[in-house]
Symmetry: C2
Subunit: 532 residues, 2 copies
């Protein structure tokens, strides 16, 4: 690799002599032959062997190995260019989004995340024919450094985010070269989903090709926006709860006993023993409450060994979990969680409008509607609404996925909200540690929350009395000896508490109205996918 | 459980008739006999059978099942009591820290996390003999509700954090009763480590007893402070990096291939296949960089199947990881990380002084010293300092743990800092993806950072050129086919980048000067411990 430093075109600023340029160009050709990926870049001496007056102002940079600091080079971001029009030479680093050489000119589009700007190289005093050809042959998606001046343009450049200016390039170096053949084209992966293309060029990239080549797929403006908004969801969740007096905790993922009965749990080899991956941080959140942390949240990986191949199941996802001691009624917690959601929705609407718009460019989605305070319905009311719509469903029957979605539509039609809370689920369909409803024993102090008709969080008041917990566990035919440690946690005084677990990827998927959870997990895991 | 609602002393505010009181007292007695844990609480009619004029103002509360909202009861926090002196009756919920009945009086200490206040019950118009006896028999660590007035006291109460006031109790109910026999006493678990007790009562609680009973152990003032400060470390890490333009990402913990060669990795059964637990999010952070996220961080579980039973190794810990594209020199990243640490230390010093002080009450520790900007030494300088101190060590030899600690002491003596950065580690002792130093091939563009002489983060410039990465992997005799996906990530253009991984628990341990990482992991995992 060291020799490559010498064989590429000089990245320095001095003009090189004719002899030097020839030697360098020859070396560059050798480098090309060596590097498979460089094959389609024209060497400086391609063409008629004429003197290249631009030599030294373009080429392949040596691999950046931290040889020098170059702190004199101040780089400008594409989205800040409008402040730099007419202010002399600027440096920019970005990706070559597209290039088009046409006779004595070459048009490039330089991309930085979601921002793009047109760049022009025209043969003249500064730019040589060879340099134009070199520019036209750089593989798309390569990282390039350019030195250029920003100039205003009379007509809007529709194909770029910077529409009122372009860059006149004077130097151009390839910092990291992409393969000539890409497994997917960013333009195809970015194309709007639901539009008919008059020219019949409806090329789309399917989900598996995207995920197999995630490093490329994530570069689309929609994906850049989705994962920035996802970071926003976590940030808002934490900031809002911290403001309310919650403490962040970290709970172990490797556990000695399966948390919810042993089904759907991944087994881990642990030295000479076996262990499991936690399906939920619930026990640990509850222990933190019993240990006087009062209000806690945790953000972390949650594992489900469910062989569900659906649009909304992952085997590993990020849980936004919280647990809170209350004084007398679990609605103290229910309202805290509900208001946290409302505040997250407001935060996304106010601080992530650019990202929401970018996603909207590719996926057509209705804006997310919510009420403040959020709508709370009792489970029995939901059942009544479903029955009103002609659905037959029992009082203690869980909501099927179609009924869940139908109820979401009924709620939207009646209350104009995409978020609501369903309270007091039937006791029979909730886990043993759920506190029964004191007024009607067929129900429980438990709740689910929904976005666009899909469940995104489940929670409940937990039984904090060890004797009653044993009674309820026995009722569920659970082997008490296997949950002894759990029960023991409540023997040293524990305040009444409630909480819940939120699926981060589902929140982002449903907030944006996307159709698949794999669009909101950066590197999704499902029963059939473990890579990349 | 439902019947228990009727048999405990009435938690309402009305006076009950003599007949009612007797019936209730009898019922309370029955409840006691039933509930094993209630056995040592005196029932209201214990003693001479006299009329109890305090009946209804104390007793075991029914299990709080969200029967009522009681929103009229406003609770006051112990640490806010000084604002409520002489302002009438207040409600407080907390733990019974200690109780001492003496004739016609009973002194309780009520605890809320780290705050404590003295409460007094004295037989008189409001309080009965029976009520004093009841109070004296409540097991320590039970959760209680009291109604009381706050009054100033002439002499400082040394045993409480509220030293200028006490509470005159008028009502007292047990919300959640602790077992009478606790596996450890909070007072023992809170006792200062390095003091000699004149009375010879040097009872300490050993590490395993603490961890086996973590729900109790975590209630000590030092532990309450440690985990609040730990939450602060994460919060500062994220806020500082977000401010610098970093985006949070989430990386999968279940991976298809062992990230660093296959040693020390936990195996997971994944449906019909095997998978592994990620030893580091590094590959995914790098992919995020190759996918144009520019600067990323992630906070999450990291797994090491190392059979190391030391004071500083865990098999599962929380990684604070970051990765950043740079322009020309990895020192752009090194300085970013170094300054992030300085900002974290400043944030802890400024915002967590109460927590630091609370830890200092139990563990004697020197304040943490740091320089701004942080000290950066080259590895070779560190070797020279060690040799100057008489240690024999080779130029390309890794630092042994004793040498690491010695160097920390030498640096502290010379520069008066507990934090420093060691730059340019020998290439031979770093992983294959580490970028060699361009100036001297025995060194590399890699660095470790140290707190109080122990390594808390390791990082490097990574090789972003796929051909060079293959060359280096071959040099390390790594099977290229097994890292094909990793190499492939760099074939579509990737900016030069560097990053590192920080062990959260180590940062907290060393910032506070604690001696064991199990003190800073809420539920630690090591080769011998998987519970609780």
């Amino acid at each position: 690799m060291v020799e490559e430093k010498e064989i590429v075109a000089n990245a320095g600023q001095e003009q090189v002599s004719k002899k030097g340029a020839k030697k360098q160009a020859k070396a560059a050709k050798k480098a090309e032959q060596k590097a498979e990926t460089a094959a389609n870049i024209a060497a400086a001496d391609a063409g008629d062997g004429a003197i290249d007056h631009a030599a030294g102002r373009y080429g392949l940079s040596p691999m950046i190995q931290s040889q020098e600091k170059r702190s004199e080079r101040v780089f400008v971001a594409v989205h800040e260019l409008s402040n730099h029009v007419g202010k002399g030479l600027l440096w920019l680093r970005g990706r070559l989004h597209t290039s088009r050489a046409k006779g004595k000119q070459c048009f490039l589009i330089l991309r930085q995340q979601s921002s793009t700007v047109q760049c022009i190289l025209a043969v003249g005093d500064v730019i040589s024919k060879q340099m134009v050809k070199f520019a036209g042959n750089i593989p798309k998606e390569s990282i390039i450094d350019i030195q250029a001046t920003a100039v205003s343009v009379p007509n809007k450049i529709e194909s770029c985010t910077e529409q009122t200016l372009e860059l006149c390039v004077e130097q151009l170096f390839v910092v990291s070269q992409a393969k000539a053949q890409l497994p997917l084209q960013i333009e195809d992966a970015s194309r709007p989903e639901n539009t008919d293309d008059a020219e019949g060029l409806n090329i789309r990239v399917n989900q598996d090709t995207r995920l197999d080549n995630r490093v490329l797929d994530l570069r689309t403006p929609a994906n850049q926006a989705i994962f920035r908004l996802e970071a926003g969801v976590c940030r808002l969740f934490r900031d809002i709860l911290t403001e309310k007096g919650f403490t962040e905790i970290h709970t172990p993922k490797i556990i000695s006993a399966a948390s919810e009965g042993g089904a759907n749990v991944f087994t881990v080899s642990y030295f000479k023993d076996s262990a499991y991956l936690a399906q939920s941080p619930q026990l640990y959140k509850q222990m933190a409450i019993a240990a006087d942390f009062d209000k806690v949240y945790t953000v972390g990986a949650v594992f489900r060994a469910e062989d569900s191949n659906t649009h909304r199941h992952l085997t590993e996802f990020v849980g936004l979990d919280l647990e809170m001691a209350f004084k007398y009624h679990y609605h103290e917690v229910l309202h805290t969680i509900g208001n946290t959601f409302t505040d997250i929705f407001k935060g996304l609407r106010d601080k992530y409008s650019r990202e929401i718009e970018a996603v909207g460019q590719q996926y057509k989605v209705e804006p997310f509607k919510f009420l403040e305070p959020p709508l709370i319905l009792e489970f029995a009311e939901g059942v009544a609404m479903l029955r009103g719509a002609g659905v037959e469903t029992g009082d203690e029957e869980d909501l099927s996925t179609p009924n869940e979605k139908l109820l979401g539509r009924l709620v939207k039609a009646k209350y104009d909200t995409d978020f609501y809370i369903l309270d007091k689920f039937p006791l029979a369909i909730r886990p043993f540690y759920t506190m029964p409803n004191p007024d009607n024993p067929i129900y429980s102090n438990s709740y689910d929350m929904f976005m666009r008709g899909e469940e995104i969080m489940s929670g409940a008041q937990r039984i904090h009395d060890p004797e009653y917990l044993i009674e309820r566990a026995k009722h569920h035919n659970i082997d008490i000896s296997k949950i002894a440690a759990y029960i023991e946690s409540f023997r040293y005084g524990c305040p009444p508490h409630a909480g819940g677990g939120i699926g981060m990827e589902r929140v982002v998927m449903l907030y944006l109205g996307l159709d698949n959870i794999r669009k909101t997990s950066m590197f999704p895991r499902d029963p059939k996918r473990l890579t990349p």
